[in-house]
């Protein structure tokens, strides 16, 4: 009892540090949260209002306040295939990224030893070179007369005889560009696993495959969920890869939003498309938040 009291007293003394309740906390929060409120949350309201605007009769390109829910119907009627294609491309790219990222994340977490931090730097380093230029570089790598295309062609593996300007190139670009977003959360989850758990599985006569399937893979699930979301979300909204590496038949929903907003200046249609994309993605995110809790993600 005597031994317990001082410890309790000490933790009581340090507790206020973590949970000070005063005006200071709100003052620290306010400026940043106000910025996010005004420039992130409120724009969704204006986006929604814009999506319901009606054209001004007699002056094309001008819109006024309205409740034109039909904007959604006409936007979806015209662009639903692009939504499907976006989620299909993003889904394939996410699965490919998971398959490519897992061995590297596993190696960095368990086998890299003193090379661990250097390898993590090498994972993020490519992001220091321009996203657009890296995507553009795939035009060179996947060129019709390049090694990859001619090798695959001599094996008769390419249905269209080429990679560039096909869906394959768009998916390849998406997979490459968002790979670090898969590797880092996977690594963070794998790194938390106690290697002795895998040893224990081996001691209990589990084959390496069984040990992986029953121990490592389930324990890395938080990283898999976070990584797939962090890859899938930006990939489904991306239009750079489709614009640079695909043809007009490979356009994604991001291309439609960009063209309607900036070229056609059809703000209601572009806003309706953005809103539907966001809604579809929010459903995914909230499912995840319910599984893992926001605190773990932020």
């Amino acid at each position: 009892m005597v031994a317990v009291v001082p410890t309790a007293a000490r933790s009581g003394a340090s507790a206020p540090v973590a949970q000070r309740s005063s005006k200071t906390g709100y003052l620290l929060l306010f400026p940043g949260m106000a910025w996010l409120g005004v420039f992130f949350a409120i724009p969704f309201v204006t986006l929604f209002m814009t999506s319901l605007q009606a054209p001004v009769a007699g002056s094309p390109g001008k819109y006024q306040f309205g409740l034109e829910f039909g904007n959604y119907a006409s936007a979806m009627a015209e662009y639903w295939p692009l939504f499907l294609r976006s989620f299909l491309y993003a889904g394939i790219a996410t699965l490919l990224a998971l398959a490519i990222a897992y061995p590297l994340a596993y190696f960095i977490a368990f086998r890299a030893g003193q090379w661990r931090s250097l390898m993590l730097v090498l994972v993020i380093a490519p992001s220091f070179a321009s996203f657009l230029l890296r995507t553009y570089a795939w035009k060179t790598i996947l060129a019709d007369e390049g090694i990859i295309t001619s090798t695959l062609n001599s094996l008769h593996l390419l249905p269209e005889g080429r990679i560039l300007n096909t869906g394959i190139a768009v998916v390849a670009g998406l997979t490459y560009n968002f790979l670090p977003f898969m590797i880092l959360p996977l690594y963070a989850a794998l790194e938390k696993i106690d290697p002795r758990l895998m040893e224990a599985a081996g001691d209990l006569y589990a084959s390496p495959q069984t040990a992986f399937r029953k121990v490592t893979w389930p324990l890395s699930m938080p990283g898999i969920v976070a990584g797939t979301l962090l890859t899938f979300i930006p990939a489904s909204g991306d239009y750079i890869n489709a614009a640079l590496l695909g043809s007009t038949g490979n356009r994604m929903i991001g291309n439609a939003i960009q063209i309607n907003f900036i070229q056609f200046r059809d703000y209601p249609t572009a806003s309706a498309l953005s809103f539907v994309l966001m809604a579809a993605i929010l459903v995914l995110v909230f499912t995840y938040i319910r599984r893992a809790g926001t605190e773990d993600l932020v």
Binding site: L36, A112, M278, V298
Partner: protein
């Protein structure tokens, strides 16, 4: 065969790292190219044009300078705002914590095209002129969340005993913050700032929506992609890549040395207390 099975995962890991760097190699090699047509897509002839005449093509250097300017301003503002939020989240109790967490998390889970479009909808409805100000506002908005996450992780990983020890030694709250807390969190803040700058400097989608006629470096590249990207762009991108890599590697090295020194002094203390 057993050797192969044992090292297979290492071989795959190295292959993935090499894969990550293939486009970087292409960018670098093509910076020394003299393109045959207008597109710098395949190797033609060695040339130093891109490097000796970095600003030789109109628009390249001015867009580069614009991006640096936007990057510096938005990084400074976002780092300050984000660090304040991180401190509030870790050190203070307040109401509406889950709403706060959600508002910080959502910008990272929203596709850029939606953020760019919704912000443009706001500016259009307010008839706010598009340009450097709107792009900077947008960049601050999407960097804040990344700063919060980075600094928060650093704060949570800190040993509370260190601050407690300072208080035991009669340091006042200000002194504890100035001499203990802040120096310990600083690497996290600097890391967040570096991340923020690289996100801002490289952002295309959100910037493009809110730029009006302003041309940032990525917007310049986007426009040039249609008519042929000049070799100067490859040279500048190579410089940015190497400078950023040098900064990160130096930080790693310094951190490593510091940790080694700390471990050594810990060992000394250990032997001292035992003897």
């Amino acid at each position: 065969m057993r050797w192969l099975r044992h090292h297979l995962i290492g071989i795959v890991a190295v292959a993935v790292l090499v894969y990550l760097f293939i486009p970087i190699a292409v960018i670098m090699v093509l910076s020394f190219n003299k393109p045959s047509g207008k597109y710098n897509l395949s190797w033609n002839e060695f040339s130093l044009d891109g490097w000796t005449n970095l600003c030789g093509v109109p628009g390249v250097c001015s867009s580069f300078a614009t991006s640096i300017q936007i990057g510096i301003i938005s990084t400074i503002v976002a780092t300050i705002l984000g660090t304040m939020i991180a401190f509030a989240l870790v050190r203070y109790r307040f109401r509406g914590r889950s709403t706060t967490n959600l508002l910080i998390f959502l910008p990272m889970a929203t596709p850029e095209v939606v953020m760019g479009a919704s912000l443009l909808a706001l500016f259009l409805n307010l008839r706010f002129p598009l340009g450097q100000a709107t792009v900077t506002i947008a960049h601050i908005m999407f960097i804040i969340s990344f700063v919060v996450v980075t600094v928060k992780a650093r704060l949570q990983g800190m040993d509370p005993m260190l601050e407690e020890a300072a208080r035991d030694l009669y340091a006042g709250p200000r002194q504890v913050f100035r001499y203990v807390t802040f120096p310990l969190v600083l690497p996290g803040i600097l890391g967040a700032a570096l991340l923020g700058f690289s996100l801002s400097f490289d952002d295309f989608i959100i910037s493009f929506f809110n730029a009006g006629t302003l041309v940032t470096f990525p917007i310049y590249i986007w426009g040039a992609a249609q008519r042929g990207i000049p070799v100067q762009v490859n040279a500048l991108a190579t410089i940015v890549f190497l400078v950023a890599l040098a900064i990160v590697l130096t930080a790693q090295f310094v951190n490593h040395r510091r940790r080694q020194a700390l471990e050594r002094s810990a060992v000394d203390m250990d032997t001292f207390s035992r003897s």
